[in-house]
Symmetry: C2
Subunit: 189 residues, 2 copies
């Protein structure tokens, strides 16, 4: 027996390793420093495709640099854009979409995701998912902008039809207040 | 890909199949109609042991009947008692403890678990767990007594030292209000 859940990101990385298969098409809606993009690129294999989006050119550059080092650039399409507009990419049949919300690492807490655009991006991702596809979201309520984003998301989940979407929140009630938490959405049909 | 989480009990049954090993000692703190007891008895194998507790003699009888039919009685110690008093059984080294709270199926909603005794039973279970052992709890806030039990439990989780226990709540925010949810506690040391 091992420690099962150290934090949400570790939990989600284990889910990616379990549920993303060679040939899958997936989306990293918050490329950031490329951590999730790399794991996704490894998981979809040579015949798969990762779409990775970030609002900041610095994030796209960092992610690209890491993909080049790992020899994985062929599998990844990078897009410097607001993820609220991912409908424009015309994605369909995605098996998994990853959101790691909050500040861009290294941006000195100047740039963070916002509730309204995050919700637009999640709604667009739901449309682009294939049946039984997953969205994995890490929420950071422990900052001012993160707290209001968290509040808006709490309302958003309740609008999702339970006949069409399973939504599961994974929270850690004995950790210091406003600890990060995870949300998994599975599209049933 | 399959539907990942239909409900908490299915999720917990999958966790039992994954994490309970032959030879393990485990506790079913709410034997009820014996569903969980049977699965636990199958999972611990011939060399393991299941302790199963229920306040009601009818529950113990139903569980025993099912164990006899399944040929699993040798692996199970049944105890008709309040689970608040499981300290008296002197259990140690448990790898997993299961709580399925709320009404006893078939009791016509006359007998339900209560916050105070449930918390005593969980506290005793934490002492009886081996390091990295798990407690899996299904909470039913959708009735009057269930709602007050849920409220008391929400306060209880917050008293658990995060250095010693990982506590993860699994809730379904787009299901009808007060849907059942799961809590997993892992004892780290």
């Amino acid at each position: 027996m091992r420690r099962l859940v150290t934090n949400t990101l570790e939990l989600f990385h284990n889910m990616i390793r379990t549920y993303v298969s060679p040939g899958d098409h997936v989306l990293d809606a918050t490329a950031g420093n490329g951590n999730d993009t790399i794991l996704l690129a490894e998981s979809v294999g040579e015949d798969g495709k990762v779409y990775a989006v970030d609002l900041q050119q610095t994030a796209i550059c960092k992610t690209e640099e890491r993909l080049i080092k790992a020899g994985l650039t062929e599998r990844v399409d990078l897009h410097c854009m607001n993820h609220a507009q991912i409908d424009r990419l015309g994605l369909v049949g995605l098996s998994l979409v990853m959101f790691n919300l909050g500040y861009l690492p290294g941006s000195e807490k100047k740039v963070a995701t916002q509730g309204e655009s995050t919700i637009q991006a999640i709604a667009a991702s739901l449309r682009a998912l294939r049946p039984l596809g997953l969205i994995l979201i890490t929420v950071y309520p422990g900052s001012d902008s993160g707290l209001s984003e968290h509040t808006e998301l709490q309302e958003f989940w309740q609008t999702l039809d339970q006949q069409v979407y399973d939504v599961m929140e994974m929270k850690f009630p004995n950790r210091r207040n406003l600890s990060p938490y995870g949300v998994m959405i599975q599209k049933l049909r």
